[in-house]
Symmetry: C4
Subunit: 237 residues, 4 copies
């Protein structure tokens, strides 16, 4: 865990070790999936046991000169409790995929790299001011024997002049001896789409839509005495 | 009620006595619940008679050095009226739970304290500027013979430098002779998540989703004369 | 229509005569309703023929020293077209109700006055800066022989110091020789609730949720040639 | 494609050629539709094969002295994949329709011109500051032999003084030798309605509501070992 704490000291977003821990689980699992299905896009909703709930392909994609970037939400998964309730099992993420340009308007999907934004990282992104920057560090193998061997960093930096941001992904893989770097310049308009779409998706990747989408059986036909009296009091004043 | 008016004079949010009154009802009731089920989290949707609509556990949790904080929405409950309509019985809240750290990354859930944010308090939180602060006072026993014996205050204060906020809960219980204080530093990114999630939840805890989720039977196949003529006028111009 | 054009020249929101025309229809109709059912609150969804779709009572209410104010959305009504489509018949509104205080924490619901905010007026309200003000003028009898006899004006003015706004309704009724004025000071927090709730409700009162809530039968199992080829091109690059 | 690249060099929004390509498909197709059904409004949800999913007419319309403007969302269409998933076929748009005034409060719907805003163009519009402007260029015949013969430009320019924006559409048709220009002054309040409504519609025209509206079958009754253990660890600390 030594390498982990070094990573943490570089984190500009004060992620707790616990949070990184969660992301390591997500990453390890997601990587396994993407290896098995490397031709598919990021927009799938996998369940932890490998079944997929419903595969939706509606990524927001940005194609630029040197690389392309696409973003899709992945919903959380839930476990049923013995009590009848449900509990978030694995948090949802916004899944970013980068893949390089290999010629004019030609891109190589097989060389893609991914980065899964947690709810808090999404919060960081959507609250960026026009001059702000942020950077996130992930270790996708954190829980395995390969911990520390692969390091991913995502940086979002404000343009100096034009507005908009540079979104860069750097993946250093000490096992494969590779170092991949993608830079996608994102215009103010494109970032506004991401901000609005991520803002829309955030309560869903947190699982909060489960609270609000409940069937209307909470209508109580026989409210208890206290509440009735109180309402009467409120109404008659 | 003397102590109450003193509390009110300290309120920075101009809560009317009536509003505090409502919250006292909520609190008293919620405390009863949490005593009975002290091992459960805050994310449950209780109905006033003690039945629970559907237990969802998807809190947004922040673990920091001295304490942890989690937030979950609780939907309002409704009563059916004789006329066939439905009326909000008890307003929904955003339910905050604080519990202390008792070692490195160890937290004691049994020592938790809670604070239920009303719609207006949520409005105060989500409209905070980067330099702003706010503070709320609740008396969870306000309607009982213990009125004034327990005082809760929640304060949200902007960091001096780093951005983000300190969220603190102080609970003074004159019956148990206890004084609990929790301070959770919340980063800009984490606060952005809270802001987006609370903004999402607010219309739901107000019950306004009931207005908008109605079945489409409002389609009128035979609109009255006046409206038709008016639309014709609009259409033909 | 002379009086009308005078009213229009006072409008600070550049409402076209057409828009006022629509509101007159709404008002006339809503007034008829509220006369028949003067003890009910504003949160009902009437259909033009007098049937009500579903009566929901979940107003956001603010009780202050001299008056109280509550707000509820009213959805639009739709007509079925011969072609099978549906068309908005009457636009939705945010319905404001003011009623006076007649003692300490006592209010007289029978003396209430109402004001129905159109989509554009809601847009004006939710885009108010902390120093801004706006004012709206309605003639609820505009289409009847009583046109010009009743004038309503709603003004929203920034507090000089404290933040928040004064929301005032003035109703001059030349038939009944009455002049009612209500002023409700609204805190920043309360206005934030209104802003969030109105922002949530706005697409619904416009009827835009009808576009987005459509059943998923738009999935096309046999896309036409052109689109397929295009997608193939996009995918293979 | 020469003319195209000239157009591109004028684009203030850094649209890639690929994006324009997509829009050309949309436009060509939409124009075909509007020719066949020129009396209908823009609010229809067409599927690529000409069937319509459900015709909704709830445009947001602004009537001004020289022209009127209405806006409606058009949802994306999807294709079913052999794998059982669904993929966005044609992106959704916000469909703008302009038509000229031909007298006092008289407008000629037959002389309308349209402009379909892509997700990124909507992002540009909703992120405009009070002093900002933007301009978009479309070639509705881009893929046909008439490429370059019709050029549409939409400009949104901040008012110098009053707040609000001028929204202008210019359509130069070299085949018909026509040059149509529409200018609609939009108040701050009307623009706030557009901003809120477009913000609401954006995730839907992107197809992201498909990710979030999935049935709750993602509840996993038997979570795999790893996740369970992890949750246990998280819960007991």
């Amino acid at each position: 865990m030594l390498k982990l704490s070094k990573l943490l000291s570089h984190s500009r977003n004060q992620l707790s070790q616990k949070r990184l821990f969660v992301e390591a689980v997500n990453h390890q699992w997601l990587r396994g999936m993407s290896t098995k299905a490397s031709l598919s896009t990021a927009g799938q909703n996998f369940l932890p046991d490998g079944r997929s709930a419903a595969k939706i392909f509606a990524p927001y994609s940005i194609y630029k000169g040197k690389a392309a970037l696409s973003a899709s939400p992945i919903l959380p998964t839930f476990s049923k409790l013995e009590s009848g309730g449900i509990r978030v099992d694995r948090r949802g993420v916004i899944f970013l995929t980068f893949w390089p340009a290999i010629g004019e308007r030609k891109y190589d999907w097989d060389k893609k790299q991914t980065f899964a934004l947690s709810a808090t990282e999404v919060g960081s992104l959507i609250s960026l001011g026009p001059k702000d920057s942020c950077e996130f560090f992930h270790d996708p193998s954190m829980l395995s024997s390969n911990a520390g061997q692969v390091r991913k960093s995502l940086s979002i930096k404000a343009h100096d002049n034009a507005g908009g941001y540079f979104i860069s992904l750097n993946v250093v893989n000490n096992i494969l001896k590779t170092n991949d770097r993608f830079v996608v310049p994102v215009t103010t308009a494109e970032f506004a789409v991401m901000r609005t779409a991520f803002n829309f998706a955030l309560p869903h990747i947190m699982g909060w839509d489960r609270y609000t989408n409940q069937p209307p059986k909470s209508v109580d036909e026989n409210p208890p005495r206290l509440a009735s009296e109180f309402m009467a009091t409120e109404w008659n004043r």
